[in-house]
């Protein structure tokens, strides 16, 4: 992987945004299986606000752009997702605070800090059937492949495999966990969102890889 420019970061953020906006109903349906069915609405509410403020977001640096995201997400996204996603963007943003482009090593650290932040915030560990079960393996794949050109593709594959293999797990965090064993056998909405966002980022950036 080469240095990631500000332009590419913006494209990735647009891909994340549009994934959240386009899948409101689908994510709610996934959450409805064993949770309270609000996950799609939570994400879409946050990113609608981001879309509305899009042109005015602080672009002093990549970090500031991510911190601007963090602020809106933490404020406007409900349920567990607000503080968790907000923390992820905030921790990643702190790493990139003074940067206008990112090295593979920067992204590696951002991944690690975001995951650490999610763990601190929500108290979850890998295996609890949350989006950590997608992000943590992705972060390991990234570290292992960051020198090569297929890194994005490898991360996507990891995420999609993680969604499938986590179906067998029982949720131990968030509202899904309230229904106990009923969560076994279904896809975790948070993980699905991560995988779909990664897919859309890969598509958006494929011309540049």
């Amino acid at each position: 992987m080469q240095t990631v420019t500000f332009e590419k970061v913006e494209k990735a953020l647009v891909a994340i945004r549009d994934t959240a906006l386009a899948n409101e109903q689908y994510f709610c349906e996934l959450d409805g299986v064993s949770g309270d069915g609000d996950f799609g609405t939570s994400l879409a509410t946050g990113w609608r606000e981001i879309a509305a403020k899009w042109d005015d977001l602080d672009r002093t640096s990549i970090g500031h752009l991510l911190l601007a995201h963090a602020q809106v997400i933490a404020s406007k996204v409900g349920g567990c997702s607000g503080p968790i996603w907000g923390t992820a963007f905030m921790r990643a943003g702190m790493v990139a605070r003074d940067k206008t482009s990112l090295s593979p090593e920067d992204i590696e650290v951002m991944f690690e800090k975001a995951i650490e932040g999610i763990k601190t915030r929500g108290g979850a560990e890998e295996g609890d059937k949350t989006l950590l079960d997608a992000l943590a393996p992705m972060s390991r794949t990234f570290s292992a492949t960051k020198a090569g050109d297929a890194v994005l593709h490898a991360c996507l594959q990891t995420a999609e495999e993680a969604v499938e293999s986590a179906m067998a797990l029982q949720a131990r965090r968030g509202r899904q966990s309230f229904t106990g064993e009923r969560s076994i056998g279904s896809k975790d909405p948070g993980m699905v969102a991560i995988a779909l966002m990664t897919r859309n980022i890969a598509i958006a950036l494929s011309g540049h890889e």
Binding site: A74, S75, K76, G82, P83, R121, G122, G123
Partner: protein, 334 residues
Amino acid sequence: MQNKQKFVNDPVNVVPEMLEGLVLANPDTLEWVPEFNIIHVKGGADSARVAVIQGSGSGHEPAHVMAVGKGMLDAAVPGNVFAAPSMDQCLACIRLMNGPGGVVYIVNNYQGDRMNWDMAQEMAEMEGVKVGRVLIDDDVSVQDSSYTTGRRGVAGNFFAIKAMGAASQRGASLEELVAMGEKVNANVRSMGVSLSGCRPPAKDEPIFTLADGEMEFGVGIHGEPGRARLATKPADEIMADVFALVAGDLPLKQGDRVAVMVNGLGGTPIGELYLLYRKAAMLCAESGFEIVRNYVGEYCTALEMNGFSLTLLRLDAELEELLAAPAEVPIRVF
């Protein structure tokens, strides 16, 4: 569908309409920030003191909006009924009550409350605000529950507010306030029992129901399950069981000086609370715990739930002095 057996209008407006009533009833001492549903002492942050604030779900009144006043909380920021305040509410409250010495918040150990407050704290710290945190987890009934990792924070919270509020009036620093709150939390234990469920205004169904002759032993303040669903029995026997678990967890020992709270969960007549206090006082006497102060009434409720909780606080000279310090709350009793 809306719960019809409630004195509310549109359930969406329950919290703001309650807060508006509260400030209309206390125009000289309280202010309300409608955008974030913050209730704070009139005049706002006092530059000579470190403010003590709290925010959690609504439906626990008088906790915490009716605990705002001189010598108690400087501000409270409630979420919707049984829902944590959002991050931006917490952040707005931190910003508003921040002074030269910083600001300290108290948070009960519920996942939603913690996540939003922690997040707000980080955001505020990024803005250069000095923020202190006190976590309350006094409920001995269950280790992990529907809404928590670790023990829940319930009525014991009151003592952190009272002690920290009094200490703040005496000019305590942020670090001293946090240490005081942590001391309270280390010495306070609670447990609740209910004989009925409760029903949030926006819900058609009670959170849980109990048949005649059933009680939820160790119930949480949202009606979450406790240790066990048991058969009801005489009040003295229930109190004896609860007392043993609460006192045993600290553990209290003969000669300890204590504050005792018998807290109503919302739907229990105050006469029954005094009847329960009678047994608690007898058990203290038998065990050789000296009751220095007692509190009988509603401090932290679960809407109209018929239940009570017992809280025991082990005292030292410093805590005794702080509990006895004058304080003002917006509830007029005479």
